[in-house]
């Protein structure tokens, strides 16, 4: 027993002195004993725990686990170092390791259990943190390397492998200098010295070399590694590849510099329109400083009448759309308005959501002014050109004057414009035409023409342009009686511009005058425009004068033709008539009769020549008149054949009998056909046949005259219908001026028809004319 008792106390001492909590409980869960360590492990006093239930320290979610464990032990199976949690007195979960053993009575029956509860929270923590650390190290995007103080690599994570290209087994055991470019080897000495002294190096930016020799910018964080005694035994090195960061940084710096130095206003704002950034350009354009603007609503710079615009812009941005070169007006701090061109783009966060808008505003006041001036200039040039073109096409003086007056009055923005134009008529009397713009004619009629006053002198003498901001203040003004200035009721002229209009030869033919009731309305540019207009007008008026002269000449020519015809024909008529009278009275004097016949023949020829000459003159003047009637070409041909047959030995045959009707000038068509037949007679041997055919198609009538004469060579054929053309190499015995075929061609063509010829030298010719049956 003693021994037993000794054993008991020995055990009790062990029980009391254990670091682990030990308790016993029966299968009802009633704790029967516990050692003092329960306080250390769970915070309960042994007194408090004894006599309570074991479930006090079991977290409710682990109750089933606890019951299973006890059941296991009851069945004789011990539980050794089972990791779980128990509750402390404060209700905290404590990480514990349980060893549960059965308590048997003397008969060997299991009557309860003993539980050794070891606090393993410290163990778990360091274990977890170690695991976590290892995971972090392995998972880190940074290269994490440790090395000895001699610089020998002792650990190498996955990122180190990725970053430098060496596998862990390639790197471990190697000197760290494999990573250091030769020109940076001294860095390592510095690092070693630093770290050996126990100091940490943070964010040291340098360059390292990859396995393939490529250099990479990295940021190093270097710390000493100490053993448990605090002795520095190695160095840990975290290397971050900063190439991308560096780029981003550089880009940002560059962007920032651009934004700051830009003359354009660059503003960012939230989708609610709150200004978030404001560069120097914005300050310059809008007058607000960054401090004044940031945090304010963008409506700070939007004129009231354009506030809706901002809503549109923001809506567009929310929808992810940019706005480019939107020209609008913004308000400066001073309240004055500024023309800007806006480019607004959405600002997106890393996830791509639109979180705001960036806005670039360019001050286009200058640009716009330039643009407007350019546009205005272009517009004016266009007016000028179109007017120049219009008046160049016009030949009516009054029309030209009015067009020029209207256009130039518009060009210079004058209230009144007038064009005074000197005209010299046929009789040499000069008078003035004038046109007005911007004022009714009555406004001028009562004043008569502008006289040679000092004001007008410069213009009508051709001295030059007079442009005065206020004519009533001009020294030349108001010098003439009786009005001494503008007559009463005159249009109110203050701004005055007058430009002389000159002919090509430099003679003054008129003047352009402009007025405006307000002073200083006409500029140098206006002056230039009017001068340019005046020169166009001068040319147009010159042309119109020429045209009038030509028209006059043309009229005179027509009159001359008529008169000359009359004057030449009248004696011919008398001559012919008297000769005929003589012939009628020379009944029995054959010799004299033949003389008279010859004379009559010559008179006829002379008469025919005069007719041809005047026909040509009429053709050229466009004065040949036609009288279209329904004619029967077959009948006309038959009559002509009968008439001409009397005077020739040729066999003239008409191969047509059916009447062919068409609309034409009978006398002229007779003239053409007679011309063709007489030509055939002239150029073919006596007795030979001359055939006339008439072919009637639906729309046209073809009339041909065929002879078996000398024919025409190819060279002559080309020119046969030309004016004054006579076949070359043809005997000069054949008389005539060579006008017949030309006149025939003109007559036929004026009828809407065509003439043609087919010929072979030595064989004969066929002349054909074709006429439309229903000319337009």
């Amino acid at each position: 027993m003693y021994n037993f008792s000794l054993d008991y106390f020995a055990l009790a001492a062990v029980f009391e002195g254990l670091q682990d909590a030990v308790l016993t409980h029966n299968f009802d869960g009633h704790i029967s004993s516990c050692n003092p360590a329960v306080t250390k492990v769970l915070g309960f006093t042994p007194e408090a725990l004894c006599s309570s239930s074991i479930e006090t320290i079991v977290p409710p979610d682990l109750l089933k686990e606890h019951i299973d464990l006890i059941r296991k032990v009851k069945a004789g199976e011990p539980v050794v170092q089972f990791r779980t949690f128990r509750l402390s007195v404060t209700g905290n979960r404590v990480s514990v390791s349980l060893t549960i053993s059965p308590i048997k009575d003397q008969q060997g029956n299991i009557v309860g259990v003993s539980q050794i509860i070891r606090d393993i929270s410290k163990e778990t923590e360091s274990e977890v943190s170690l695991n976590r650390l290892a995971a972090i190290i392995e998972g880190s995007e940074d290269a994490i390397i440790s090395k000895t103080l001699n610089g020998i690599i002792t650990s190498w994570n996955a990122s180190a492998e990725k970053m430098f290209g060496y596998a862990a087994d390639e790197a471990i055991g190697q000197p760290i200098t494999i990573l250091i470019p030769t020109d940076r080897l001294q860095e390592e000495d510095m690092i070693l010295k630093h770290v050996s002294e126990g100091r940490k190096i943070e964010h040291f930016e340098t360059v390292r070399q990859k396995k393939n020799g490529e250099l990479i910018p990295i940021s190093l964080t270097i710390s000493p590694i100490r053993d448990s005694d605090g002795v520095i035994v190695g160095i840990s090195k975290i290397a971050r590849n900063i190439s991308t960061r560096k780029l981003a940084e550089e880009r940002q710096a560059r962007l920032a510099a651009i934004v700051e130095s830009s003359d354009d206003a660059i503003i960012s704002k939230t989708l609610d329109g709150i200004i978030q950034s404001w560069n120097r350009g914005a300050e310059k354009i809008f007058g607000y400083t960054e401090v004044e603007a940031v945090g304010k609503h963008i409506s700070l710079i939007i004129p009231q009448d354009r506030e809706e615009e901002e809503a549109h812009i923001l809506q567009s941005i929310r929808n992810g759309n940019s706005i480019d070169h939107y020209q609008t007006i913004r308000r400066k701090k001073s309240g004055s308005l500024v023309a800007v061109s806006l480019t607004v783009s959405p600002i997106k966060d890393a996830k791509g959501s639109i979180i705001g808008a960036s806005k670039v505003s360019r001050d286009i006041t200058q640009e716009r002014a330039g643009h407007e001036a350019l546009q205005q200039h272009a517009e004016r040039l266009q007016i000028l050109n179109s007017i120049a073109k219009t008046i160049a096409e016009k030949l009516d003086v009054q029309d030209i004057l009015q067009k020029v007056t209207d256009a130039s009055t518009r060009l210079v923005g004058a209230r009144f414009g007038a064009f005074f134009y000197n005209v010299t008529d046929q009789q040499g009397e000069s008078y003035m035409l004038y046109t007005l713009s911007g004022a009714p004619r009555e406004a001028f009629d009562k004043f008569g023409m502008p006289r040679n006053t000092q004001v007008f002198h410069a213009t009508f003498s051709g001295e030059g342009v007079v442009r005065v901001d206020d004519i009533t203040q001009d020294p030349r003004y108001g010098k003439m009686a009786p009005h001494f200035g503008m007559p009463k009721g005159h249009l109110p002229v203050t701004s005055y511009l007058a430009v002389p209009v000159l002919t090509v030869n430099g003679n003054v033919i008129g003047g352009l005058f402009f007025g405006h009731p307000e002073a200083g309305k006409f500029t140098r540019e206006h002056e230039d425009l009017v001068v340019s207009m005046a020169s166009h007008a001068g040319v147009a008026l010159d042309n119109s004068m020429l045209f009038e002269q030509v028209s006059e000449l043309s009229k005179k020519k027509d009159e001359f033709i008529a008169l000359a015809t009359h004057e030449l024909k009248t004696p011919l008529t008398s001559l012919s008539g008297y000769l005929q009278l003589v012939r009628n009275r020379l009944e029995d004097d054959p010799l004299n009769q033949s003389f008279v016949e010859k004379s009559l023949h010559q008179v006829k020829k002379l008469s025919a020549l005069v007719n041809d000459l005047f026909d040509v003159a009429k053709i050229q003047a466009g004065k040949m008149l036609f009288e279209f009637n329904e004619i029967n070409i077959t009948e006309i041909a038959a009559e002509l054949v009968e008439m001409l047959q009397h005077s020739t030995a040729h066999q003239i045959k008409l191969h047509a009998s059916v009447p062919v009707l068409l609309k034409a000038d009978q006398l002229r068509i007779e003239q053409v056909l007679a011309n063709f037949i007489t030509n055939a007679i002239k150029y073919s041997p006596e007795q030979s046949e001359i055939g006339i055919t008439i072919v009637d198609t639906d729309q046209e009538v073809f009339v041909s005259v065929k002879d078996d004469g000398i024919g025409i060579n190819q060279e002559n054929l080309k020119h046969i219908f030309s004016q004054f053309y006579r076949a070359k190499g043809v005997d000069r015995k054949v008389s005539g001026l060579g006008l017949g075929l030309y006149i025939s061609k003109e007559i036929i063509e004026r009828h809407g028809g065509r003439v043609s010829v087919e010929s072979e030298e030595g064989k004969g010719s066929t002349f054909t004319f074709c006429l439309p049956k229903f000319p337009r």
């Binding site: 009359h566 009248t570 009628n584 009288e627």
Partner: protein
């Protein structure tokens, strides 16, 4: 007032031609005991003549010193009292024979005297 022709009275042809030789020639051509020929040199004398007489045929030159034969013809034809009188126009310019003159005949100068005489006598 127009005088009525008596049955005994000879028919009368009036000729207006400004050229003296030609007027004389026409007088010679038309000379006949069957009718009388009145030769006039201008429109003024023609108008005076027409105020008193009513000829049976009128021969008019177109280009006259004091007017145009075509216009004279048109006036005659428009007048109820003279519209029925045949008018024969003569011109050196064939283009003058424009329609609308109302003339019964047109002669180009120079003309065949026999045809001319026949044509004029045809209207008597």
């Amino acid at each position: 007032m127009v005088l009525k022709h008596s049955e005994m009275k000879l028919k009368e042809i009036v000729v207006v031609e400004d050229d003296n030789d030609l007027r004389e020639l026409i007088g010679l051509i038309l000379y006949s005991d069957q009718y009388s020929v009145k030769l006039l040199a201008n429109i003024q004398s023609f108008d005076q003549y027409m105020a008193w007489k009513c000829p049976d045929v009128i021969v008019l030159d177109v280009m006259l010193p004091d007017g145009n034969g075509i216009e004279v013809c048109q006036k005659l034809k428009a007048d109820q009292k003279t519209g029925h009188i045949p008018v024969l126009l003569m011109s050196a310019n064939s283009d003058k024979r424009i329609s609308g003159s109302g003339a019964e005949a047109f002669f180009d100068k120079p003309f065949d005297i026999d045809k001319f005489k026949n044509k004029v006598e045809g209207y008597i």
